[in-house]
Amino acid sequence: MLKNRYRSETNILFLIFTTFFKIALFVVGGGLAMIPVIEDTFVRKYKLLKSDDIVDMVAMTQTIPGLIAVNSAIFVGHRLSGWKGSVVATIGVLIPSICILCLIAAFFPLLSMENQHVLTAFSYIRACVTGIFGCVALRLGKKILSTHRDFLIVGLLIVGMLYGVNIVLLIVLSVLIGIISTYKQQKETKSEKHS
């Protein structure tokens, strides 16, 4: 099986590096746009991660300060083969960006973005990304929204965001609610066992 073929550590490290190199080389739209491709590659194609891992990855990238692309690379690398994996994945994400942007900066210093054809094409790419993100949101929602409480909290967060409450504050609040509710749940199950 695929998993056996990639069992040796060097092979996995090489796979991690090439995958993130390719993702950074081809995916337009920043770190968030990379998430569906990471899911495609590591969950569906290689079956090295589960879709639950991806949900955890997204959760982590949104709560720990840092770039989404790098956070995701570190998370996947770490899950697959520890700190070596995260180093290799990060380097893989960095190299294409540095090469492409150095080339652009060298040959087109602040090139004017007035080519109508290119502008229209990129507007369509962004429309495509909108649709794909809609799908990602739908899949995430199916996993996350199961009880009334989930809907209530997510609804409150959306209202807070619409009215311009600081995003960092909202994230901290959401994490705090998660910790408190887990604490209460575990306390209840413990007291049930005792009685």
């Binding site: 569906r44 959760a59 942007l101 973005m113 502008l119 369509y124 995430l140 998660g178």
Partner: protein, 188 residues
């Protein structure tokens, strides 16, 4: 010495990215346009457009470009590594912590809470990209009732959503397809 200053400057930006690289754009504007005048506002706009349209993480692209403008290839590399370093340190510490205390109340609760927040952030990213493509003007609370749509783009968005959901094409193939459609449409 200038290399060290450049590194520290981008290290600081990396530390301040909460919820993704988009967060550093106002910081870059403050430091490179408003304070020092290194770029004019129009140049800065082009810089952002280039960073968004080229593959890879938007903030790494911006950092590389600014680094290159400060000097040469070496400065570009230093700026990008400086930007990435805080993320790397923080994420590694966090992941090791999570691994060690996998089943503790704190870590379980942390991820439970983080999942709600991440769902809302992905939703807001959908709105962000829709504002840049599907809607002719960015929607906000005040203009919820009076928005106008660009129908060709809306069509592409819905088409990509359906195709992607059914798993007929991978994301990469869809992006290439969308680029081709857009390029073709621009000649009509």
């Amino acid at each position: 010495m200038t290399h060290l200053i450049l590194f520290m400057q981008f290290f600081k930006y990396g530390l301040l990215c909460l919820g993704g690289g988009y967060m550093i754009i106002p910081l870059l504007y403050e430091d490179f346009v408003a304070q020092t005048g290194f770029f004019t506002p129009a140049q800065f706009g082009n810089l952002l457009a280039i960073s968004q349209m080229t593959p890879g993480a938007v903030s790494i692209n911006a950092a590389t470009y600014i680094g290159y403008m400060q000097g040469q290839v070496l400065d570009a590399i230093i700026a990008s590594i400086g930007l990435v370093m805080p993320t790397f340190i923080l994420a590694t510490i966090a992941l090791n912590f999570f691994k060690k205390h996998q089943n503790s109340t704190f870590v379980t609760g942390f991820f439970k809470g983080a999942r709600w927040a991440s769902f809302v952030m992905v939703l807001s990213a959908v709105v962000l990209f829709a504002n840049m493509s599907v809607f002719s003007q960015p929607i906000s609370l005040d203009s919820l009732t009076s928005f106008s749509l660009k129908y060709p783009e809306l069509g592409v968005a819905i088409m990509s959503a359906v195709i992607y959901y059914r798993g007929h094409l991978s994301m990469m193939q869809l992006l290439v397809l969308a680029f081709a459609i857009g390029f073709g449409v621009s000649f009509i």
